[in-house]
Symmetry: C2
Subunit: 154 residues, 2 copies
């Protein structure tokens, strides 16, 4: 799973909307500024999010975007999958977008890739936007020593 810019941008926008849930619509320009995303590009992404039913838009003056769905009902996995196709490190072990390979019957390392996909898929599918919102941001010196972390829970 390599996150594309699209997905990253989408998530940035989504979380600002989660944060301002209940408030007035937020225009793209605002979303773009706050999250450091090219406005014009974000347009397309928002459109995409809208089609998916995750956000709602109101046009015209005082328009903008709002979250359209309960953030406890949107998982990280769904979002990433929608933009990037699948969570697996390779298509031959993807559940949602499986692609066959000629070597499957003999391939040795496929198992470890499957394990990897299961680890991230379980994590991502269990984690909702609401969950993420509750967790604290990563601190700088937490990053400095990530080597040691065992990565349990979020």
């Amino acid at each position: 799973m390599q996150l594309s810019m699209r997905t990253d941008y989408a998530l940035r926008a989504l979380f600002t909307l989660v944060e301002h849930r209940g408030g007035p619509p937020i225009p793209i320009l605002e979303l773009a500024r706050r999250n450091d995303v090219p406005k014009r590009f974000l347009e397309h992404i928002m459109l995409d999010l809208k089609e998916k039913g995750w956000v709602a838009s109101t046009a015209g003056k005082r328009g903008g975007y709002q979250l359209a769905k309960n953030p406890e009902k949107i998982t990280m996995g769904e979002v990433v999958r929608h933009f990037d196709g699948y969570l697996a490190p390779i298509a031959c072990v993807s559940v949602t977008d499986y692609k066959r390979c000629t070597q499957e019957t003999t391939c040795r390392f496929r198992r470890v890739l499957l394990t990897a996909r299961n680890l991230v898929a379980n994590l991502m599918d269990r984690t909702t936007l609401a969950d993420v919102m509750k967790s604290p941001v990563v601190s700088p010196d937490e990053l400095r020593k990530i080597q040691g972390i065992d990565g349990e829970g979020i």
Copy 2:
């Protein structure tokens, strides 16, 4: 971590070499055939593996490739990283090829991505080629129900 074809091909070749460790050199043509990899392309990859010191080549008649390093001393993580740069789903949480992002101080979902990276990194860095070799191949109906698997151990 999205595996590139290169990496996949490299691993295919590596494991055939692991399998025939101690035996005579295996020519590229053979490696290519057995693993269904374009021969010409594999050349580059093998050269790369050689520079890394993982395989050794002998030219001329009866030449070919052999594993040059103990498979217990090569981890999956090393191989993937060598070809694809890093294991993390995004550069801002990569240990080996960290890239800064302007949103780090406020980003909410970075934490879950960090967790994901730790899960796969731990797995991949703990798993050596020898380990992989010992594990059985994934069976077809195992694949069919991967949904339920919890992905512990390899």
